[in-house]
């Protein structure tokens, strides 16, 4: 087991290095540099050139890359020119918001997907299954940002059940019960919107796996042992059917990243996704590169997590 994880980690490391190089090179290709717009237009080009030289902006890309990654490893991603503060501090403020939003979304997704998938797979081709399948098709077809806007409009503005922007009500002291509750209220609607749309692929996966597993020979063996219908489902069909779902778990994280970018923007939720979108629009390069790197690392770690989970639930891929 540990051997497997270590081996898998060893593969992950070069992936992250490669990703960081790609991110950096792409940032280099973007027009402008750290001085663009930062310096008084009256400063002569010679002095600008001098500053460039001093900041190392004329060095070849691999020297600059080493400088950058050296800083990044110690948690220094440079300065955000828009917020006039270190990128690390900026991200630190936001990362918890996004983390909680993603976590609650994931929990909602599985709370919705597991029962719907099981019902749909177990009673396939009944009206119940058709209703659930109908919902998944709607979910596939609806763009997240439109659905989120509709949710916000109905539940945020028309009914007024949920706050419509921010991550916490102002004037509450951090750590108090009211503060936590207000945080939860703020992320409920965005998380629910994202979960309702994001869950449909998991529902479909689970359904088709169950329909598939139902007809496998070992299910007949289980019935021939005298196992009751519920035992057949709980002990034999379900465990075999959740394998691909477990494998998919890490990828859900990747999906969440792109989801939060839209969702946080729409709900005015101060997280990393919103920060990313703003920074792209404002050409705040140091923030963008740092965030792309973080998102990329999250995706790679998600894939790693998938493999580890799969190796726990499926004995066939354990390395002995």
């Amino acid at each position: 087991m540990w051997k497997f994880i270590v081996r898998r980690l060893l593969v992950t490391f070069p992936q992250i290095v490669l990703l960081s190089i790609l991110v950096f090179v792409m940032a280099q290709f973007m027009p402008g540099d750290a001085l663009t717009g930062q310096v008084d237009p009256n400063v002569s080009p010679e002095i600008k050139q001098q500053i460039r030289e001093r900041l190392g902006l004329n060095n070849p890309w691999y020297v600059q890359y080493t400088d950058w990654i050296g800083g990044a490893v110690t948690g220094d991603f440079g300065q955000s020119f828009r917020f006039k503060m270190p990128v690390t501090d900026l991200i630190e403020q936001r990362i918890y918001n996004t983390f909680w939003l993603s976590l609650v979304t994931l929990i909602f997704m599985y709370i919705i997907a597991v029962p719907l998938g099981i019902i749909s797979g177990r009673y396939n081709d009944t009206w119940l299954d058709q209703t659930i399948t109908g919902y998944t098709y709607l979910g596939f077809a609806t763009p997240l940002f439109i659905f989120a806007l509709v949710m916000l409009w109905i539940f945020g503005y028309q009914f007024g059940w949920f706050p419509t922007s921010g991550s916490v009500a102002p004037g509450l002291s951090p750590g108090s019960w009211d503060y936590v509750w207000s945080k939860f209220q703020h992320l409920l609607l965005p998380a629910l919107s994202m979960a309702l749309i994001g869950t449909v692929s998991t529902v479909q996966y689970l359904r088709s796996e169950i329909v598939d597993t139902k007809q496998r020979d070992f299910i007949i063996t289980a019935r021939a042992k005298g196992a009751s219908e519920s035992r057949v489902y709980n002990r034999h069909i379900l465990r075999n059917s959740v394998l691909p779902i477990a494998a998919f778990f890490g990828w859900e994280i990747t999906g969440l990243i792109s989801g939060t970018i839209f969702i946080e923007r729409i709900f005015g939720y101060p997280g990393m996704g919103a920060l990313f979108l703003e920074s792209v629009l404002m050409r705040d390069y140091s923030v963008v590169t740092a965030l792309v790197l973080l998102f990329g690392v999250a995706a790679i770690l998600g894939a790693l997590l998938s493999d580890i989970i799969l190796s726990i639930v499926d004995p066939r891929i354990r390395i002995k």
Partner: protein, 336 residues
């Protein structure tokens, strides 16, 4: 007859295809006694497995009519709960393909133990473990303590088939249905598995239904043989009678298809088993595959005739049957 274990009466199992029901097992009546092996032979598609699954009541969406009396219980009328009590206990089945018959995510020990959990809930964990080890020993698996915690993918096909057998015999069933238990295995393993089934029959005093298309296996194992064609029983006889004096054209064709020494050309039965939907439901079902026999030889509605005690044959065409290569003079042989 107190020795009678299973009595099947006019069993018809039909499947829904499109908007009609088509019988895969058509009006079959059979009996199995204790300590007896009943062989059921026939080509692929003749309804052997459908019959086995009907007895186990494992068909999902089939219409089953008739009677299947296992001792005093009619399996056709039994509720799911009653069936679950019987299945794996006094009624059990060995499946055809050991590679897919085991749950890939469960340890071998747990898969065998599950039958015990279901039918012997009073057993302690320790007792159950000991019984599983005993079963693994019984079916000839070396190092049972090690295999106990292995997964199916770590075992060979022959080993997995032994595990499938261990599951089937865990609760000493009275009726054991073996559905082509050796088809997926190579010849040396086949012999071992057959030996094993034979030994178990003696030990457990059980009735066994052995389904196969291998006539060699039947000759070696069975006490009585039923020959199935297109969902019907066409001939039933003691194993010696059947091999020495086969009557039905289908039985004779099957036996004639077994290669013998010094034979340069293998006999091939013309045509294929008709599909469920295209099967003619009246007249002799084998007629289409022996077109050289005159139509008048067949009965209009063929029934089983008892030609000698315990030897039944369907249709009258057997008395006029000859192989084309023998010519008409072979006719006398057929009538015996």
């Amino acid at each position: 007859m107190s020795n009678r274990l299973l009595e099947i009466e006019n069993l018809t199992t039909s499947f829904r295809i499109g908007d009609g029901y088509y019988a895969a097992v058509d009006n079959v009546s059979l009996t199995v006694n204790r300590n007896e092996v009943l062989g059921i032979v026939g080509e692929s598609g003749s309804g052997k497995s459908a019959l086995a699954f009907s007895i186990m009541r494992l068909h999902n969406r089939a219409k089953i009519e008739g009677k299947i009396n296992l001792e005093d219980t009619d399996l056709v009328k039994a509720s799911t709960n009653e069936l679950n009590k019987l299945r794996g206990d006094s009624l059990s089945m060995i499946f055809q393909d050991p590679l897919t018959a085991l749950n890939p995510l469960m340890e071998i020990g747990a898969q065998i133990g599950e039958t015990l959990v279901l039918h012997r809930p009073q057993m302690s964990k320790k007792q159950r473990y000991d019984r599983v080890i005993e079963l693994l020993n019984l079916v000839g698996i070396p190092r049972p303590e090690h295999v106990y915690q292995q997964y199916p993918h770590e075992l060979s096909g022959g080993m997995r088939q032994r595990v499938v057998i261990a599951i089937a015999i865990a609760n000493k069933p009275q009726l054991l249905i073996a559905d082509e238990p050796t088809t997926a295995l190579d010849v040396t393993i086949q012999a071992q598995i057959l030996d094993l089934i034979h030994k178990l029959k003696e030990e457990m005093d059980a009735g066994i239904i052995l389904i196969t298309h291998d006539l060699g296996v039947v000759a070696e194992m069975a006490d009585r043989v039923a020959v199935m064609y297109a969902g019907e029983i066409v001939e039933v006889a003691e194993v010696h009678t059947l091999f020495e004096n086969p009557l039905h054209p289908y039985t004779r064709s099957l036996l004639n298809s077994v290669p013998t020494e010094g034979q340069d050309k293998l006999h091939v039965i013309q045509g294929i088993v008709p599909s469920l939907k295209n099967l003619p439901r009246t007249g002799c079902r084998f007629a289409a595959r022996i077109p050289w026999i005159d139509e008048s030889a067949h009965e209009e509605n063929p029934v089983l005739h008892e030609v000698s005690p315990g030897h039944y044959v369907r249709c009258t065409c057997h008395s006029k049957f000859y192989f084309p290569e023998e010519g008409k003079e072979g006719e006398a042989n057929g009538a015996s």
